[in-house]
């Protein structure tokens, strides 16, 4: 018996391995080839505009990048952007989820409307915000300010990073809402009822029943959003082009500047490698946190 089981397992192992092999190979190629090329380029002197200057550069690209004052401000901007958007979407998403869980007239329509910003392409929504919402002369916000006799705010020049955070948060709030709303729907009504009978008010129910129930879903939202928010690009490209100064240059945009405005493939690749390392550091912490949450 024992023998056959071992035998069977090996066959199964081999069989499943051979079945998985094409997919795994493809995935590895898909991942390793670009990664390998990025690593290779990051050690090369490779500027498209200077075909004469090429060859092994050692750590020069990394040194050039790490001594660049722009890199540190880009990292700071990236963290600020990710941090604030996460706070806004998670807090807002939770509150909205609780709101949309209540019975009210037209709830279905309201839900669809609340979720729809997520389906607008980032470039399009950034353009809409830039030209129709935040524009100091034609924007809705300027019009509103005028209505109350306040001076119009020139969002992208006086509050550049805040503006980007608002746009991105507006886009990702529906995502948080969507996940958290489905999670809240799985909350057992009996449990809430029991708490009520024990004398818990709505606030106590929210903090001691709903919120603990949403813990896992919130971790998932944070993780998924983090992955996407670390590489925010379109919104910045369309609205502020990383400026004024370096006020809205995040890591993704800095790499873009190096590669496509300076045509310095070497330094851009080094920036890419640094971004990968950073993302991995964040991911390790996050994955642990989420995994712990999901286990318990």
């Amino acid at each position: 018996m024992n023998k056959t089981r071992v035998y069977g397992r090996t066959v199964g192992g081999l069989r499943s391995l051979s079945l998985q092999a094409p997919a795994v190979t493809l995935l590895l190629l898909w991942m390793l080839v670009p990664l390998g090329m990025t690593l290779w380029f990051s050690f090369q002197r490779y500027n498209l505009l200077m075909p004469g200057m090429s060859g092994f550069a050692g750590l020069e690209n990394y040194e050039y990048l790490l001594t660049d004052p722009a890199l540190w401000s880009a990292m700071g901007n990236t963290l600020l952007l990710v941090g604030w958007v996460l706070i806004i979407t998670v807090v807002g998403g939770t509150l909205l989820a609780v709101l949309f869980q209540q019975e009210f007239l037209g709830r279905g329509v309201a839900r669809v409307l609340a979720i729809s910003p997520f389906f607008v392409m980032p470039t399009v929504s950034a353009l809409v915000w830039k030209n129709m919402m935040m524009h100091p002369a034609n924007g809705v916000l300027a019009w509103l300010a005028n209505l109350f006799g306040l001076p119009a705010v020139d969002w992208f020049s006086s509050l550049p990073l805040t503006s980007i955070i608002i746009i991105v948060a507006w886009q990702w709030l529906p995502f948080a809402l969507l996940i958290l709303l489905t999670a809240i729907q799985s909350l057992d009504d009996d449990q809430v009822e029991a708490a009520r009978m024990d004398g818990a008010g709505p606030i106590a129910v929210f903090f001691f029943i709903t919120l603990p129930h949403l813990k896992r879903a919130i971790s998932v939202v944070i993780m998924i959003e983090m992955i996407f928010l670390l590489t925010i690009f379109a919104e910045i490209f369309v609205t502020t082009s990383g400026g004024p100064g370096l006020a809205t240059t995040n890591l993704a945009y800095l790499i873009y500047i190096q590669a496509l405005l300076d045509f310095d493939v070497g330094t851009a690749s080094a920036g890419g490698v640094i971004a990968i390392i950073l993302a991995n550091i964040v991911a390790i912490f996050l994955v642990r946190l989420v995994a712990k949450n999901l286990e318990s």
């Binding site: 992208f156 020049s157 004024p244 045509f263």
Partner: protein, 436 residues
């Protein structure tokens, strides 16, 4: 795109012996008004040259520049005709990326091209691109507002006077602003204007040893002047206004003055597009310490990359699109204010054009007096009025442009911005091997 180029067009191939296969050439160009007109005349070209079909790639300036540079540097061979400027031509020609354009046909009349433009597009005396349109910069103003305020504009205004007039005419309550200037960051946007201001305030980008001079007094003075002028008497949100935004503002009547490209004149005089066509005044670009480099020189030109495999057909096309015959065609079909300006002397000698465009002689004078080889008060090692003719300048100009924009929005002081700009420029120059 690539596939269709190598496939002969079946219909024409079927015409039989003797008839050459139609070659498709891919033309990359900017979405500026003059180029859009060129695209709309595709039929006229294809009718005259039945053996050539045109395939267009029309993009916004920055995107186009990226696509073309990547393509040409990696020898992609995607395009047969590229639209590039006076900045790129000498740099690309030096790297043998462009096909030299000697032995142009007799009827093309090379000598008719404006000398300053032709020099800008030549490397070692050989043309590497043909000018499609050219421009300098000048000052536009609202004649009606100036008359009302009793201001007379002298033959050569100064920046001090401009500030004075701007303060008199600034009326934000009625949405008329003293002056509109470029504020959008970019080496081809705000830095074009700021460089000319620095030139005329007596500054330069680099000294003869290629040391950046952005922390010099002249830069400080010019940039402070620019920032104060625009903050006090400019429209709100000036830091996101580029050429097109300012054109819209001025032609809607929101600005009393505007210093920008001469190529805007055609549009401003077009009664269909501009509300200020009948009350427009113009003057040379203002000066300060020195008249040197106070107005820029730029031309968009059509070039053939060395990697193209349809060079002959591409040459047919670019000689057509930059010819006198093309200019006349546009004049007849689209109106004489729409012809591509600043390339040929014959355009300016044309009576139709002179009649439709009262600014013609003025623009010609500005273009001829701009000298890219001598644009700074103190000597400089580079060629170019509003740019520095080295490959690193795209990066430098973009970075410095961002810093100037930060100074304009008040995110940094002018001094901080210029120091940061000086540092980053120095880094770039060190890395490129100009400095130790």
């Amino acid at each position: 795109m690539k596939l269709s180029r190598t496939l002969p067009v079946a219909g024409i191939a079927a015409l039989g012996a003797g008839a050459a296969n139609a070659e498709t050439i891919t033309v990359a160009t900017v979405n500026n008004n003059d180029m859009v007109i060129m695209q709309s005349l595709t039929d006229a070209f294809e009718k005259a040259h039945p053996d050539i079909t045109l395939d267009w790639v029309v993009l916004e300036e920055n995107v186009l520049r990226q696509r073309m540079t990547t393509d040409i540097a990696t020898k992609g061979g995607q395009f047969d005709v590229m639209t590039i400027g006076t900045y790129e031509v000498p740099i690309w020609a030096e790297r043998d990326w462009l096909a030299p354009l000697n032995d142009l046909p007799e009827e093309y009349q090379v000598d008719d091209l404006l000398t300053s433009v032709r020099d800008g597009l030549s490397q070692d005396g050989t043309l590497h691109a043909l000018p499609f349109y050219g421009e300098s910069s000048m000052m536009y103003y609202r004649q009606d507002m100036f008359d009302q305020a009793g201001i007379e504009v002298p033959e050569q205004p100064t920046w001090e006077e401009v500030r004075d007039w701007a303060s008199q005419l600034h009326n934000p309550g009625e949405e008329t602003y003293g002056i509109c200037l470029r504020g959008k960051p970019g080496w081809g946007e705000n830095m074009a204007l700021v460089s000319t201001m620095v030139n005329t305030f007596g500054g330069r980008w680099f000294d003869m040893q290629w040391n950046p001079q952005l922390d010099a007094a002249a830069w400080q003075e010019a940039v402070s002047f620019y920032v104060d002028l625009l903050n006090e008497y400019g429209p709100p949100g000036a830091s996101s206004n580029g050429f097109n935004e300012n054109l819209a503002l001025f032609s809607r009547g929101n600005c009393a003055m505007w210093v920008d490209a001469t190529s805007a004149a055609g549009k401003l005089y077009d009664t269909g597009e501009s509300q200020v066509a009948d009350k427009l005044g113009f003057a040379p670009a203002p000066i300060a310490e020195t008249p040197k480099g106070s107005h820029w020189l730029w031309s968009w030109a059509l070039a053939i990359p060395a990697s193209s495999d349809s060079k002959a057909a591409a040459k047919e096309f670019i000689t057509w699109a930059t010819s006198q015959e093309y200019i006349e065609l546009v004049g007849e079909q689209k109106g004489w204010t729409s012809v591509p300006p600043g390339t040929r002397e014959s355009t300016y000698a044309n009576e139709n054009y002179q009649q439709a465009a009262p600014f013609a002689g003025f623009v010609l004078e500005a273009m001829q007096s701009a000298d890219p080889t001598d644009s700074t008060l103190e000597p400089s090692p580079y060629v170019g009025v509003q740019f520095v003719g080295i490959p690193e300048f795209q990066s430098i100009g973009t970075q410095v442009g961002q810093m100037i924009a930060a100074a304009l929005t008040g995110e940094r002081t002018v001094e901080q911005a210029l120091q940061a700009a000086q540092r980053s420029t120095k880094r770039t120059m060190q890395r490129a091997g100009y400095l130790d």
